[in-house]
């Protein structure tokens, strides 16, 4: 199993990570090592085995649909990089 440079660039874009072109070869080799290791799974017969996502096979509990939290907007926005009038600031999206 080998991940090509184009594939890696596509994955990096999906993950919103910027990978410099001069880092691509080394990173490709590292990821190939990891993918080579995890590929040993392909040889295992898992026919009819139900995937396990919660180790206790537990289900998400439901709660009453009522407000349980106070509004702490100013506290939460105190750690934001840029806010104005209670709103988070991002670069202009719509011209």
């Amino acid at each position: 199993m080998s991940i090509g440079k184009d594939e890696l660039s596509r994955i990096a874009e999906l993950a919103r990570l910027r990978v410099d072109s001069d880092e691509l070869p080394a990173l490709t080799r590292r990821l190939d090592d990891i993918l080579g290791m995890v590929e040993t799974l392909q040889a295992v017969d898992t026919g009819g085995v139900e995937p396990l996502s919660n180790p206790l096979d537990a289900h998400q509990p439901l709660r009453a649909d009522v407000v349980t939290e106070d509004n702490r907007r100013s506290e939460f926005q105190a750690v934001a990089p840029a806010v104005e009038n209670g709103l988070y600031l991002v670069p202009k999206v719509i011209e």
Binding site: R18, L41, P61, V79
Partner: protein, 490 residues
Amino acid sequence: MNDMTVAQLIQALRDREFSSVELTRRYLDRIAQRDGDLNSYISVAPEVALAEAEAADRLLTGDNPPALAGIPIAHKDIFCTRGLRTSCASRMLDNFVPPYDATVVERLRHAGCVTLGKTNMDEFAMGSSSESSYYGVCRNPWDNRRVPGGSSGGSAAAVAADLAAAATGTDTGGSIRQPAALCGITGIKPTYGRVSRLGMIAFASSLDQGGPMARTAEDCAILLGAMAGHDARDSTSMDQPVPDYRAALSLSLQGLRIGLPREWFGEQLQPAVADRIHAALRELEALGATLVDIDLAHSELSIPAYYIIAPAEASTNLARYDGVRYGHRCDSPRDLHDLYTRSREEGFGDEVQRRILVGTYALSSGYYDAFYKKAQQARRLIRQDFLDAFSQVDIIAGPTTPGPAFRLGEKTDDPVAMYLEDIYTLGVNLAGLPALSMPAGQVGGLPVGLQLVGPHFGEAQLLATAHQLQLATDWHLSRPPAPTATGDAA
């Protein structure tokens, strides 16, 4: 007050041998003297600690002080502490001061603990050596040229060097047990859902679990009793009664059936470590336990299954770091896309980026069935092996790691070699089981860890087994050598 366990400190504080303020000052002094070399703390919080110690001293003069009143501990820097920077050892959260406490922090504070500071770790808990921290490598107090293990390496090093009475840790694939083994202390990863994950910064949500790290199993029992229990604010927290772990320590080992997985004693295991583990097992036999060989036939699938599932969950969890609501934001973003990609590229270190990429790949269209679904199927096979084993035995025992602490830099250039360090610990997380590591002697002057694994919610039996073994042996009493004048512990 030097070198005392939590149990001894609780008694001494109640007997007024010294105050919590005196005890806290003593730890702060030791941190100032010793931690320049070890780098086990990312942040030390003297003002918070002394204020909490003063409050604890007032409680200690009252009739019913809380269980851990005045005990100075450290929190892994993955647990949110209100008003105290919580970095997860990442540049991404270098400026993050949480507006709330993790449930674990809240419960331990309620129990009277004093917060000395926040300990060093691998960035976002992804690692087995504590070398990937944005704040520099953490060193092993037994030999400062070696790693303390990871990812809770700072917590393990701080407890081993007596820079905290105990510490919190988290364990996604061995991150409590492996550093506990490499630093010669005791640490327990509870059953998945036993301890609340609220305010514990997420790495892989179906695997992450917090737990205590301390000098003895008795101390772990006391701390776990304060940390465990249902939390309605964590939807994966299990609503199960919390037994009195300390009272259960006196359980006899007579007739206890201990399973030894053949797969854990193969060629990966260094022979000198195997000797130490067998010596510890003979002690357990002398205490009345019976040893039974068992099979965990799918255990070799643990590493590949884990290194798909954990990165997949990490890639989704870490999608939240977008440079908008909190955390690192790049300078002068050109547009929204540039804001996202540059903030993340600057904020995350190499291993975190690698895992995000692997996880994104495994979850991406066309690969999902081959990787993620396959890994989750393997996960069920791995868990079933453990469940079958527990129909024959009460607990499972073996090594925590294949060898003792390795050298700084030895595995940083080879991620796959680093992943193999977790060969005996990963399966436990995939199956959601409780497991502890405790000292079992040394190899070449470095500690070796014995791992005990129990059935779901079987923490009391694990802690009792470890406690009985610690009453009969003195491995847990060994201390790292005092550093020389140059700070070179070797």
